[in-house]
C-alpha cells in the first residue's frame, strides 16, 4: 500500500495523541449494525506491475483507432495531438491543482482559462465564452435552459440534423422542467424547414452545423426568423476543427454557440472526458451557466485573474443558480488551448482545410463504388453515404477486414428507416492509403 505513508508506530502515536485506544473508537458515530465486520469480496492490494498487467490485458482487447484505417466520427474525432500538449498538461502544477478558489496561488490555471475563453469566443465568432462544460451535448442542454431564462419561454425547436445524443440530453433535461420540445425529423438529405416551426412562444431553435449528417448550412435566414419572433438561435458544433474552415456561427447570427471541444488536444478516450464549449452574446452573460474567469488587478495594481460573476453559481445562489454545474473540464480545456496555441492562426486554418481535403478525397473514392451514393452536396470532414445493404452489417464486415469504416446511422437512430446510411469521417490522420483501403474493402464487401 505504497500510497499510504503511516507505519504502525505512526498510527499508535497518533491514536495516543488523540486519546483513543483504536481507530474504531473514531467511528463511534457509525451505527454498530452498519459497520462491516468481514472483508469485501474484492481482491486485496496489488503492486504496480500486477495492475499494469491486468489493465494492459483489457486494453489489448480493443482495436486502437491508430492501428487501422479509421473513419469513425459522429461527434468524436481522431486528430493528431502534438507531443507538447500531453507533456504540458501532465505538469504537476496543472494536473494536480484544484479549482482556482484561491486566486493568488492559482494564476496559472486562471490565466489559461482567460485565454481559453478568448480563443473560444474568437473561434465561434461570439463575444464571451465560459471556462468549459462537460461536453458538447450537456452544453447544448444548458444552452436551451439559458434560452428559456433569457426569453422566459419554454418551447424549444430542435433540428433533425442535431446529433441524436445531443437531442436526447436536451429532451431529458427539459422533461423534468416541463419544457416543450418540438423536433424536426432526422433528414439525411439536409433539407428541412425550421423557420416554419418558430412561433411567438419559441425560446430557441437549436441547429447543428455541420449537421449530424455532415451538411453545411447558411444560418443567416434562420437567425433573422428567430430574432423576428423573439427567439434565440442556438448553434451546436460537434467538430470544432470545422471552425477553421467554415464561417463561424457568430457571423451568421447565432445567440448561443455550443461545441464539442474534444478535437483539439484531447484523445478519443472511448467517449470521455471531453469538453463542452459555450459562447454567447455579451448581453446574456449573467444568464450563462458554468464558471467564468475575469481580469482584474491585485493589491499592488498588477494584472491578475479570478473566477467571477459567481453570484450566478450554485455555491452562492443555491436553488436560484443558473445551473448546478460545479466541476467542469479544466484539464481538457488546458489541452485544447495548448493545441490551439501551437496551431496558431495559420496552423488552425490549414488543419481545417487538410481535414476537408481528406474527406473530399474519401467521398470521391466512395462515390465511385457502384451502388454507393454520397448524399452531401457540401460537408466539412464527415459525410453520409447510402449503401445498397444495411450499414450495420457492412461496418461489422469491414471491421472483420480491419477497417473501421464509419458509423451505421441506425446505431444512433434505430427505427428511423435509415438503416442503409453510413456516416464516414476523415481527418488529417487519414492517409491516401487508408482511403484506398476503405474503398477497396467496401467494394469487396458490397460485391
Amino acid at each position: 500500500m505504497r500510497y499510504l505513508p503511516h507505519t504502525a508506530q505512526d498510527r499508535r502515536a497518533m491514536l495516543q495523541t488523540i486519546g483513543v485506544g483504536s481507530v474504531d473508537d473514531l467511528f463511534v458515530d457509525v451505527p454498530r449494525s452498519a459497520v462491516l465486520d468481514k472483508p469485501l469480496d474484492l481482491p486485496n492490494h496489488a503492486g504496480e506491475l500486477a495492475v499494469e498487467r491486468a489493465l494492459g490485458k483489457m486494453a489489448a482487447r480493443n482495436v486502437a483507432a491508430g492501428s487501422v484505417p479509421f473513419f469513425v466520427g459522429g461527434g468524436a474525432y481522431r486528430h493528431h495531438v502534438p507531443a507538447a500538449v500531453d507533456h504540458l498538461i501532465q505538469r504537476s502544477e496543472f494536473l494536480t491543482a484544484y479549482t482556482p478558489y484561491q486566486p493568488e496561488v492559482s494564476q496559472g490555471t486562471l490565466q489559461v482559462l482567460f485565454e481559453f475563453q478568448t480563443q473560444v469566443a474568437l473561434l465561434t465568432g461570439m463575444e464571451v465564452a465560459n471556462a468549459s462544460m462537460y461536453d458538447g451535448a450537456t452544453a447544448c442542454a444548458e444552452a436551451v435552459l439559458m434560452a428559456n431564462r433569457v426569453t422566459r419561454r419554454r418551447r424549444t425547436v430542435l433540428s433533425g440534423g442535431l446529433h441524436p445524443q445531443y437531442r436526447a440530453v436536451v429532451e431529458t433535461q427539459s422533461r423534468f422542467l416541463d419544457g416543450s420540445i418540438v423536433a424536426a425529423a432526422p433528414d439525411a438529405g439536409g433539407r428541412e424547414d425550421l423557420i416554419g416551426m418558430i412561433d411567438a412562444d419559441t425560446a430557441c431553435v437549436v441547429v447543428q452545423n455541420p449537421t449530424f449528417f455532415g451538411h453545411l448550412h447558411d444560418l443567416r435566414k434562420l437567425a433573422e426568423a428567430c430574432h423576428a419572433q423573439g427567439a434565440l438561435l442556438v448553434v451546436a458544433v460537434a467538430e470544432t476543427v470545422s471552425l477553421g474552415a467554415v464561417t463561424p456561427p457568430g457571423a451568421m447570427g447565432a445567440d448561443i454557440v455550443v461545441a464539442e471541444g474534444q478535437s483539439l488536444g484531447n484523445a478519443l478516450n472511448f467517449g470521455g472526458p471531453y469538453l463542452g464549449l459555450f459562447a454567447a452574446r455579451e448581453k446574456f452573460v449573467r444568464q450563462m451557466p458554468g464558471r467564468l474567469c475575469g481580469e482584474t488587478v491585485d493589491a499592488d495594481g498588477r494584472r491578475g485573474f479570478v473566477l467571477t460573476l459567481s453570484t450566478r453559481e450554485q455555491h452562492i445562489r443555491r436553488e436560484k443558480a443558473t445551473s448546478n454545474i460545479c466541476t467542469n473540464s479544466g484539464l481538457c480545456s488546458l489541452a485544447f488551448t495548448i493545441h490551439l496555441s501551437l496551431l496558431g492562426e495559420d496552423g488552425f486554418k490549414q488543419l481545417a482545410m487538410l481535414n476537408h481535403a481528406r474527406a473530399c478525397a474519401a467521398a470521391a473514392r466512395l462515390s465511385g463504388i457502384p451502388g454507393v451514393d454520397v448524399l452531401n452536396e457540401s460537408f466539412f470532414n464527415e459525410f453520409t453515404v447510402r449503401l445498397p445493404k444495411p450499414a450495420a452489417a457492412v461496418v461489422e464486415a469491414m471491421a472483420g477486414r480491419n477497417v473501421l469504416a464509419g458509423i451505421p446511422v441506425s446505431r444512433l437512430l434505430p427505427g428511423a428507416g435509415l438503416d442503409d446510411l453510413l456516416l464516414v469521417a476523415a481527418t488529417e490522420t487519414t492517409t491516401e492509403e487508408d482511403i484506398a483501403t476503405l474503398g477497396d474493402a467496401l467494394g469487396e464487401v458490397l460485391r
Partner: protein, 494 residues
Amino acid sequence: MEEPLLFEMGSAGRTGVDLPDVPAFADKLGGLGRQGAIGLPALSEPQVVRHYVRLSQKNYAIDSGLYPLGSCTMKHNPRLNEKMARLPGFSDVHPLQPQSTVQGALELIDTVAHWLKTLTGLPAVAMSPAAGAHGELCGMMTIRAAHEAKGNPRKRILVPDSAHGTNPATAVLCGYAVDPVPSLPNGRIDLAALKAKLDNDVAGIMLTNPNTCGLFENEIIEVAEAVHAVGAYFYCDGANFNAIVGKVRPGDLGIDVMHLNLHKTFSTPHGGGGPGSGPVVMSAELAPFAPLPYVVSGADGFRLIETRADQTAACDGGHAYGRMRSFHGQMGMFVRAMAYMMSHGADGLRQVAEDAVLNANYVLARLKDVMTPAYPGPCMHEVLFDDTFLKDTGITTLDFAKAMIDEGFHPMTVYFPLIVHGAMLTEPTESESKESIDVFIDTLRGLTADAKTGNAAKFAGAPYLAPRRRLDETRAARSPRLRWTPDAPAEAAE
C-alpha cells in the same frame, strides 16, 4: 517576470506545428468558407512550451504540498493511473466503434461498476455522469422518474441547511421545490424537524454523509426509515465517501441512491477544475429508471444498451428516463479509478478510510487548544473550525487563510459550510504522512499565536509571497472583462 497573454505574443506567419501542405482541390464548403482572420496568435513550439511552463509555476498543486481543502479531498494522484489511461487500447478508442472491437473497454467499465457496487452495497450503477453534480442530477432524475412511474412526481425535496450548494440547485433542475431542514447544535440533521416536514408530497431527501461539518450522521438509519415511511427516497451526496470506503456500505444505511466522485475518493487528478466523474449507485427498485447507456454482459461478451430501442430489444426490464450526456461516460477517469482501486484492494481501501479519519482527528487533537473546533470530536475525514479563536484580533477567516499561503500551504475550505461562522473545513486526507501533518499543525499553531499577539499586518496584507497579492474580486464582477480584446490597453507591459 510577468507572463504576457498568448494574444500579446507571437508574430504573424509563425506556427508551432508542421502540417502537410493542403493539396489543390475543389472545396465542398458550399460557399460557406471562413472569411478573414480569426485573430489567433502565432507562436513557435518553444514559445508555447515556455508560456505554459511559466504559467504552471504560478499554481499551487497537491504535488507541491499539503492541500487541505475540506470536502474537495485533495489526495496524492498516482502517476500509474496516468500511464494506464494513456494505453492506446483505452485512450485511442472511439465510443462508436463496432462493439466487437471494444470488448476490453466495455469490460473495464463493467469491472469498475462491479467494484463500486460491491463497495457501496447497492446493486446497480449508472456510469455516465460527468462529475459529482452531474451525478446528483442523475440520481434525482432517477428518483423523479420512479415517482412518476407510480403516478405522482411529488413536489418537494428536503435538503439540510449544511448541504453543498449543488444539492438545492440540482433539486430545482429536476422540477422540485427545496425545503431546508435545520441542523442541530451538534452539527447533525434535526431528526424531529425532518419528521415534521415529511408527508406524501416529499419526493426525497438529499443528505451528505459524512456531512459537510465533517461528522457522521449518527441517526442516519432513523432518517432512512422515516423517509421511506412516507414513500420518499433517500439520496446521499457521496462527496465524502473516502471517509467510510471499505468500512461502511451506504446500502446498509438505508440509502437508495448516491453519487461517487471518482476524482475524490479514487484519486483521479482534478486538473485545475476537472474533469470529474460521478457514477451513481442505486437500489434495485430505482435501477430500471437509470439513464442510458449501460453495459450488459452475456455469453457472447459485453454489450452496450445505448438507445430505448436497445433497451426494448434487451427485455431487461429497464425504462430509462433518458440520457445525461453523449457517449458512455468518463472512460479516462474510469481507468484511473480502476488502477487506484486495484492498487489498494479491499484491504487498502479500508485502510484509506481509517487513515483519513485518523489524520483528521489528529489535526483536531493537536489544534483544539488554539483554534476552535465547531463540534467536539471525533470527526470523520475532515475537521471543522470556526472563527471564535480570532475574536477581537481584527483578523478574519479570509485573512487567516491568505496568511497560510505565505507559510507554504494552500488554505483549507473557508466559509463553508454556511451554518458555521467563519468556517474553516480542513481535510488532510489519507496520503499525508505524520511528518507532513505535524509541519502543517505547527504552522497553524504559529499563525494562531501571531494572530493572538496582535501581529495583524501579517494577516491583513497576506499573501506577500504568492505570485499575486489580494485580487480585486469586486472590480472583476462589477466591470467584467472575460476575454482579451485587441483594443484593450496593455496594462501588463512590464
